[in-house]
């Protein structure tokens, strides 16, 4: 179970293995910008990994490369032992904004990956309904995105990312646009779903406490060039509860990670 897992090496065969990943692209002035340099990262099966770092440290680039929507520059990425060379059926992505299609109802939005991958419609619909049920939106299956609040829409986005049963879930600051209260609820819900689905999660966030609360390992990235500067295993017991925010162990983790950032929120 997740509770026994404590670090990047907990699983025998990592689900995700990134070695020497680099990415350079032309900046606005035509000069090359090194977005990522020498990224090495392993994510064990069933593990929850959070990436924190200042703006422009390449954490979104890393996620978009893993999602297969941006080509890698150099290095290798393996997911479940297979070399990544584009979008994968085995990956689900939750974006910063919900990105729902306004002309499809909620159920039909959740079904999008299943339709794209031509999965059996009845199974997929049943799974979509289960997922909506799990996030408490079963009553909204036939409503349209415009009728839902931002938090509800983001939950639909989460269901959509899970409907094709991916083994890896990528999340790019999924709750960044939500208010603090909704965000806490969503984090608890995410942990519950992660536990239930036995998924492997890579989540990008700006918030160090959020990363510590969610993760088995917290990866700290720095900018120019985008690189990993530290990787902390988080051994807080599972299931995590909101009152853990005030425990000394929690505070120690947050302080250790925060020590990488200077007063401007950047890494020296």
């Amino acid at each position: 179970m997740h509770d026994s897992m404590t670090g990047p090496c907990a699983a025998g065969h990592p689900l995700v293995h990134i070695a020497g990943l680099g990415k350079t692209y032309a900046g606005a002035d035509g000069l090359p910008v090194q977005a990522l340099d020498g990224i090495d990262l392993s994510i064990g099966r069933g593990q929850f990994t959070c990436v924190v770092g200042p703006s422009g440290c390449g954490k979104s680039t890393l996620l978009r490369i893993l999602a297969g929507v941006m080509p890698a520059g150099s290095g290798t990425i393996e997911i479940a032992g297979r070399r990544l060379d584009g979008p994968s059926r085995d990956v689900g992505v939750v974006f910063q904004s919900p990105v729902l299609l306004p002309w499809r109802n909620i159920l039909s939005n959740v079904m999008v990956p299943a339709e794209v991958q031509k999965l059996p419609a009845d199974d997929a619909r049943a799974r979509a309904r289960d997922l909506l049920d799990m996030v408490g939106l079963s009553d909204f299956a036939h409503r349209y995105p415009g009728e839902l609040s931002g938090g509800m829409q983001q939950r639909v986005g989460l269901c959509r990312a899970l409907v094709h049963n991916p083994s890896l879930l990528l999340m790019d600051e999924p709750f960044g646009a939500l208010d603090a209260m909704t965000r806490e609820t969503m984090n608890l819900e995410l942990l519950r779903i992660w536990h239930e689905k036995d998924a492997t999660v890579l989540l990008i966030t700006h918030s160090i406490p959020e990363a510590v609360f969610l993760a088995d390992q917290v990866v700290v990235m720095a900018a120019r060039p985008g690189r990993i500067v530290a990787n902390y295993p988080i051994d807080l017991p599972r299931p995590r509860r909101l009152d853990m925010f005030s425990t000394p162990a929690f505070g120690a983790h947050v302080r250790r990670i925060r020590s990488h950032f200077n007063s401007r929120g950047e890494i020296d």
């Binding site: 992505v93 974006f95 794209v116 094709h164």
Partner: protein, 267 residues
């Protein structure tokens, strides 16, 4: 008599005030023509126009011409819209194709349709087909250009979301780009519908044996000004009906944009 409160209500609501303005203008027109003894050959009074229209309807002279022009408008609009949307979908597939073909389409569009109408009449004869083609060439361009613009309007996030779940280009087109383009396409169709009326009349002016444009010319030759104005009124009503019909279909199809502004309100 209307109470002051009812008057205030009329003057503060554009929907109520708009017909009042029309009535006031018509009354002023009628009054001016009568008071100044304007000859009917120069400017007929609204009452004379309505009377002329009534006579044309009762005598049955209007109906066959009305049908011919409606057929030209609807067929021309339909062909122009289908070809415009179809070609727009092909060209809108990529910026590359757009940059190759679009300049020539714009160049072709700058040729006044009135100027090519005589050629089309020579090629296709005095019958329906020349008017339908002229109407189609006018209706075609707004459908085409709005389809191209609309297909480029899909947010990057939607494309990435679909690509991330392994969608093909065709799936992205069907699931996001085309529905996303629909508000633009309908705005184009609205313009095309109203322009279609012009197309049919231009075609009939150049050479025809029937139709409302033909009728206008005949009445003009016999100095029947009230008759000419009554046909203008009919043309106006056709245009309004087409606009309303496009709006009705638009609201049915684009149910999710209820309450949102038209993407290209100026067109």
């Amino acid at each position: 008599m209307a109470t002051p409160r009812a008057l205030t209500a009329v003057f503060s609501s554009p929907r109520a005030l708009s017909p009042v303005v029309l009535l006031v203008l018509l009354a002023a027109w009628e009054g001016a023509v009568r008071a100044l003894h304007v000859p009917a050959i120069v400017l007929p009074a609204p009452s004379a126009v309505v009377q002329a229209l009534w006579l044309e309807i009762r005598s049955g002279t209007l109906w066959p011409h009305f049908l011919v022009t409606c057929e030209e408008i609807l067929a021309g609009f339909g062909i122009g819209a289908i070809v415009g949307i179809g070609l727009g979908v092909l060209i809108g597939q990529s910026r590359f194709l757009e940059q190759v073909f679009y300049p020539y389409l714009v160049a072709a569009q700058t040729i006044p349709k009135v100027a090519i109408a005589p050629i089309l009449v020579i090629w296709l004869g005095y019958g329906l087909s020349s008017k339908i083609v002229i109407t189609a060439t006018i209706a075609f361009f707004p459908a085409l250009s709005n389809t191209i613009v609309g297909l480029q309007a899909t947010p990057r996030e939607q494309m990435e979301m679909l690509r991330a779940c392994t969608a093909t280009q065709w799936q992205i087109f069907c699931m996001a780009r085309f529905p996303q383009a629909l508000p633009y396409i309908f705005a184009g169709l609205d313009v095309a519908a109203v322009l279609s009326v012009i197309g049919a009349i231009v075609g009939e002016f150049v050479g025809a044996r029937a139709g409302l444009g033909y009728l206008i010319l005949q009445m003009n030759f016999s100095f029947d000004m009230a008759g000419v104005f009554s046909i203008l009124l009919v043309l106006c009503l056709i245009g309004i009906c087409l606009h309303l019909a496009v709006g009705l279909v638009r609201r049915r199809v684009l149910f999710w944009t209820a309450g949102q502004a038209d993407p290209l309100p100026g067109l």
